[in-house]
């Protein structure tokens, strides 16, 4: 596993923008990054903290199934026609095999077992989760809910406002995107 990653990183280094090597702090890249973040907020009304949290959870979730380049993962809201779409660009280094996936799932399950008194039925849920990724999203965020109650309270006001503009804007969005966006927000932050 490590070999793959090392190799990928060596190759990827050549393709990353140059300012990454200068520490990425040229005033241009600072501006670009600040702007990208502020536009995500403008387009969705989500706060930076929530966006970062969403990104983190997505990475955790996806890492169970594929080995991905976390640095290059891009999360962005873009205008698509008259709607806003959530664009995810996920550089996959390689897919994991079944054993690794199971190990990763067990691993995360154990972590949650130890970190809080996990739901009694979480065991059963996590076994057949591999097949249906949509369920996975829901259940995963359910699990996280309990951990993040304190954080959520802080944000509950924001999120209530935040869900509205998306609904308005994405009137005709392909239902998948709309649903998944709403799922994410409602499930994770309510």
């Amino acid at each position: 596993m490590g070999l793959f990653t090392d190799f990928y990183n060596t190759v990827a280094k050549f393709f990353r923008p140059q300012d990454d090597e200068n520490g990425g702090d040229s005033s241009k890249s600072v501006a670009t990054n600040r702007l990208k973040l502020v536009l995500m907020q403008d387009r969705t009304n989500l706060t930076p903290k929530i966006l970062e949290q969403m990104r983190g959870e997505l990475i955790d979730l996806l890492s169970k199934y594929v080995e991905l380049d976390k640095e290059l993962l891009e999360l962005n809201f873009e205008h698509e026609g008259d709607q806003v779409a959530l664009m995810l660009s996920i550089p996959v280094i390689r897919a994991k095999d079944e054993e690794e996936i199971e190990a990763a799932i067990n691993n995360s399950k154990q972590q949650e077992d130890s970190s809080d008194d996990a739901d009694e039925n979480s065991d059963e849920e996590f076994v057949d989760v591999t097949d249906e990724s949509s369920e996975q999203i829901e259940k995963n965020s359910d699990e996280n809910d309990s951990e993040q109650d304190s954080v959520d309270e802080e944000f509950s006001e924001n999120t209530e406002n935040a869900t509205q503009p998306i609904k308005k804007k994405s009137k005709k969005t392909s239902e998948n995107i709309e649903e998944s966006e709403e799922n994410l927000q409602e499930e994770v932050f309510e």
Partner: protein, 270 residues
């Protein structure tokens, strides 16, 4: 004849909407098309100054709306090019003197007898913007490679998306400084296009010639040697549907050589 109505807008002030309107309008007129420029910045009119027509204005758009004159009487012909005329904004009134329907009617009337109606939109996203956009079916969003201008452009793009009348909009990136891009101190054209995910219609380099051309009241497209003039002429061609390559300004190496190249080409032409 049914002309095209294009609104030139930006959200943020001072990014070059009026300069862009004057130059694209003049360039299209030079290509032989009949063009009317409408200044919708009521109370803060400036398009007349950039065209050098400030002393010829008798009637304004408000006079037309309030029936003090005919539409034809209010159109001021350009000094050099009879294809180009200006419908000036009223300087003594504010944005409430005109409403969206009235402006729409004027555009409908003008597009019967002209190939292009270009609307110079005021800054902001309030009534003035709503009015200016109402009659148009196309938009050019002007921005500069600065965070505040890009953020405002993003907002404008969102608003344009919501307007059914606007069939297409394109981005014009103004005041680009290749040397700053080269030293990683300014966002590059690619950065801006990626962030706004909006098709590009032009890249205009920062050019001190703009200042002198404004001083003289003569759009820079009339200056055959100016780089910004060349860039605006290219924009006009793209408006006409021609495929013109963008001036390659942010080539990492040999920028000076490129400029020299462009000048050399221009000299050959002249």
């Amino acid at each position: 004849m049914t002309g095209r109505v294009i609104v030139i807008t930006s959200g943020k002030g001072g990014v070059g909407k009026t300069t862009t309107s004057a130059n694209i309008g003049t360039a299209l007129a030079k290509e032989g098309y009949k063009v009317v420029l409408i200044d919708t910045d009521l109370g803060l009119r400036n398009l007349d100054l950039l065209l050098g027509l400030e002393n010829r204005i008798v009637y304004t758009i408000v006079d037309v709306i309030e029936d003090r004159c005919k539409l034809k009487q209010a159109l001021v012909k350009d000094k050099k090019n009879p294809n180009l005329s200006l419908l000036a904004a009223a300087q003594t009134r504010d944005k409430t003197a005109v409403n969206a329907d009235q402006l729409k009617d004027i555009c409908e009337e003008l597009k019967k007898k002209n190939d292009f109606v270009l609307i110079d939109c005021p800054a902001g996203i309030e009534q003035g913007f709503q009015n200016a956009v109402s009659g148009a079916s196309e938009a050019i969003v002007v921005t500069t490679p600065e965070m505040s201008a890009i953020r405002d452009a993003d907002r404008i793009i969102g608003l344009l998306e919501a307007k059914e009348e606007i069939e297409n909009y394109r981005l014009l990136l103004n005041r680009v400084r290749p040397n700053l891009i080269k030293s990683n101190e300014m966002m590059s054209v690619d950065d801006v296009v990626e962030i706004l995910s909006c098709p590009l219609i032009g890249i205009i380099p920062e050019d001190t010639g703009i200042i002198t051309s404004t001083n003289k009241g003569e759009p820079i497209v009339n200056d055959e040697t100016a780089l910004a003039g060349q860039a605006y002429r290219n924009v006009a061609k793209r408006v006409l549907g021609e495929e013109v390559p963008f001036l390659d300004l942010d080539e990492p190496k040999g920028f000076v050589a490129k400029i020299k190249d462009i000048f050399a080409k221009l000299k050959v032409k002249v």
